[in-house]
């Protein structure tokens, strides 16, 4: 669906059904350079299992209009405002990668906006390899290629897509190639310069963190550093899965999400 928000058109994927205001809202936030479609293996399922999923395209991403937001806190403020505009009460906020940083910020600074958060590919800091940042700044195809190469576990580089006929590696690369010039760089720079500080200690809502054992973008060690700061956390590990876990292991993520959201 499309909503008009702050004078711009914002696109949200709702699982191919009309948003049901009676069902608990789930807002899903994508990672750097990506868009709503990274959640395509979950939204429709959630929509038919008692939730109202909305996978958003951040400003300047996917089919959303608007200017790019250049810092994680600015993206978080925007998400909090959007939650207000949706007028469905506090949401269950699900974030992947850059979206997990945004979710942390929303939960810490806009506690009334969220009921609980689910983080995937999360870390307290996301330093970006200088070669990747450079390629992104020059809008070179190398940036989508490096991100795709690092974002998938070994298995996903060969096979294993449960959706017949889809090929994960090119799926991810094509998604990133579709980003307009400057988008990937904007997002990676925002991740690179983000400092979480003691954010973990400022979050009161229930937190679920899902970790892929082969995640090279936000390695399990980096996630562990973040998790150490939470007083209480529901931590789930997925073996043999990389950073793009909701695409690499969609069945497991669907089940984990459903149990964590309820």
């Amino acid at each position: 669906m499309e909503v008009k928000f702050q004078e711009t058109k914002i696109s949200l994927a709702t699982g191919g059904v009309k948003v049901d205001k009676e069902q608990p809202p789930v807002l899903l936030v994508h990672g750097a350079g990506m868009d709503r479609t990274v959640w395509s293996q979950q939204t429709r399922y959630l929509a038919h299992h008692g939730f109202s999923p909305m996978a958003v395209d951040l400003p300047g991403h996917g089919k959303s209009g608007g200017e790019l937001l250049s810092t994680i806190p600015a993206m978080a403020d925007w998400i909090a405002d959007l939650i207000g505009e949706l007028d469905m009460g506090p949401v269950r906020l699900v974030g992947h990668s850059m979206g997990s940083l945004i979710s942390l910020e929303v939960a810490a600074h806009h506690p009334d906006a969220v009921e609980r958060i689910i983080l995937m590919g999360a870390a307290a800091a996301m330093p970006v390899h200088p070669d990747l940042l450079g390629a992104a700044e020059r809008n070179e195809i190398l940036a989508p290629q490096l991100m795709t190469a690092w974002a998938h576990g070994a298995r996903a580089h060969v096979a294993g897509n449960p959706t017949p006929g889809l090929w994960m590696r090119s799926g991810c690369q094509a998604l990133l190639e579709r980003a307009a010039d400057g988008v990937i760089y904007n997002d990676l720079a925002a991740c690179n310069s983000y400092e979480a500080g003691d954010i973990a200690g400022q979050i009161d809502c229930p937190i679920t963190v899902i970790v892929g054992s082969e995640d090279k973008m936000t390695p399990p060690k980096a996630t562990a550093q973040l998790v150490a700061g939470f007083e209480e956390v529901d931590l789930r590990h997925l073996k043999g899965v990389g950073h793009m876990m909701m695409i690499e292991a969609p069945d497991q993520i669907r089940e984990l999400m459903l149990s964590a959201l309820r």
């Binding site: 669906m1 696109s11 994927a13 709702t14 699982g15 191919g16 059904v17 009309k18 868009d35 709503r36 479609t37 395509s40 293996q41 939204t43 429709r44 399922y45 929509a47 038919h48 996917g62 089919k63 390899h129 070669d131 990747l132 190398l142 290629q145 490096l146 795709t148 190469a149 298995r155 580089h157 060969v158 096979a159 294993g160 897509n161 449960p162 959706t163 017949p164 006929g165 889809l166 090929w167 590696r169 090119s170 799926g171 690369q173 094509a174 998604l175 190639e177 579709r178 969609p250 069945d251 669907r254």
Partner: protein
């Protein structure tokens, strides 16, 4: 500078899309010779039918053996997804039917496979889809044939019968300037010789029957989704950008974005038209794909040797292949097809229709068949077979002279191929 640690082409040819079977450990791709799949429970069944979760339901829509081939071909082409079909023609029809409806229009190269020409020229108009054919080398003709109803530009990477090389980046640019996708039939090149998606094509189709399968034993086709085209940038592609009643109002673009075409082609096209590939054929075709790089290299080498021979033979009046310096696309071919311009060529035989007939009747090793892209060398003389009802004038209008012999160079020892051709050429001249 770091490089993406992607598995390389030859490795993907052998591995992409398959991991050892989780229950049996089978290293080879098993043939899942089944029509249907047991559901875990009613909830899972409902989820599968409703596209809430992926999985197999019925082999018209998907099958695990076919899915390995699909993932492998998508990997080799660099596409986001692939849908295999019963034949190359079924793939062409599936792609057209997925993105177009009655009232729409195609701009196509006039130098395409006869079957594809028939479908566009004679059959599709019955369903309200019309085509304007253009000279693929005439870029202004492409541009000026586009109308407000045009939905796709279509050509072959290597044309028929003149082995015209399509200037893919240029024609892709023309398509994109008009908000249209470029669809290519890449049967003659295979992803080993050219990666059309990297050059700007949006949809790639193959007759897998030919070089990809390589053994001339199984029919098959594939539609590969490049995933870079924006179907929702205009209102021209409602099958992808608008809600679809078939699945409770889903918009394929909203949900699947860059994979919208792959998802719709399967969920609607295979479901309703049903031109599915059989699992046994997928298995046979996979055996071919495993050795694609090795075979294509040898096809190209043998073609060069055969051309060297034909160039010195007095019974040969001309040779059409992009590797020959007199071919109009010789330079373009060096740029777009650095590994070679394929193994199909045509040549003219001195003495015309009669000499052509005698040549065909005297080959012994080469097979006289209506096919190309087999591991074995194949020949045909259109004027005395496929086009025998046409007059000399009609033949030349179709770009097929009375003297034209088409050769699909195989993997035999090139000395044996040449000896066979030499004998038959000699016999052809004894009128």
């Amino acid at each position: 500078m770091v490089e993406p640690d992607y598995l390389k082409f030859d490795t993907l040819s052998l591995h992409a899309g398959q991991e050892p079977d989780p229950t049996t450990g089978s290293r080879g791709v098993p043939i899942y010779q089944t029509t249907s799949y047991s559901f875990v429970d009613t909830e899972q069944a409902a989820g599968l039918f409703n596209l809430e979760q992926p999985g197999h339901i019925y082999s018209r829509i998907s099958n695990p053996t076919v899915a390995v081939l699909e993932e492998r071909l998508a990997a080799l082409e660099g596409g986001v997804g692939a849908v295999c079909t019963a034949s190359g023609m079924a793939a062409f029809h599936l792609a057209c039917a997925t993105i177009m409806s009655a009232g729409n229009h195609v701009v196509a190269s006039r130098n395409i496979y006869g079957g594809s020409h028939n479908m566009l020229n004679l059959t599709m108009p019955r369903f309200g889809i019309t085509t304007t054919f253009v000279d693929p080398r005439d870029h202004d003709a492409w541009r000026s044939a586009i109308t407000p109803e045009t939905r796709v530009l279509f050509a072959e990477t290597l044309g028929n019968p003149g082995i015209e090389v399509l200037d893919v980046p240029v024609v892709a640019e023309i398509a994109h300037e008009h908000g249209l996708p470029l669809m290519l039939d890449a049967t003659f090149t295979t992803p080993y010789l050219m990666k059309p998606i990297e050059l700007g094509a949006d949809i790639v189709m193959h007759s897998v029957t030919k070089f990809l399968g390589g053994h001339g034993i199984a029919l098959g086709g594939v539609v590969i989704d490049g995933g870079r085209f924006d179907w929702a940038a205009t209102d021209k592609f409602p099958t992808l950008s608008e809600p679809y009643d078939g699945y409770h109002g889903i918009s394929f673009f909203e949900e699947y974005g860059h994979q919208a075409l792959s998802m719709r082609a399967r969920a609607e096209g295979l479901r309703d038209f049903g031109a599915a590939m059989s699992p046994a054929n997928a298995f046979h075709l996979l055996q071919g794909v495993e050795t694609l790089p090795l075979r294509m290299q040898r096809h190209v080498e043998n073609t060069a040797t055969v051309i060297d021979f034909l160039e010195t033979n007095d019974a040969v009046s001309w040779i059409s292949h992009p590797s020959v310096s007199s071919h109009p696309d010789h330079e373009l071919s060096k740029k777009l097809l650095p590994k070679g311009a394929g193994a199909i060529l045509s040549f003219g035989i001195a003495g015309g229709r009669e000499a052509g007939r005698r040549f065909i009747e005297n080959v012994q090793l080469a097979s006289h068949v209506a096919n190309v892209g087999d591991a074995k060398t194949l020949v045909i003389h259109p004027a005395s077979t496929t086009h025998q009802q046409l007059s000399a004038e009609d033949l030349s209008a179709a770009g097929v002279g009375e003297d034209l012999i088409r050769l699909s160079v195989g993997l035999e020892d090139s000395e044996d191929i040449i000896a066979d051709l030499a004998r038959a050429l000699k016999a052809s001249q004894k009128g």
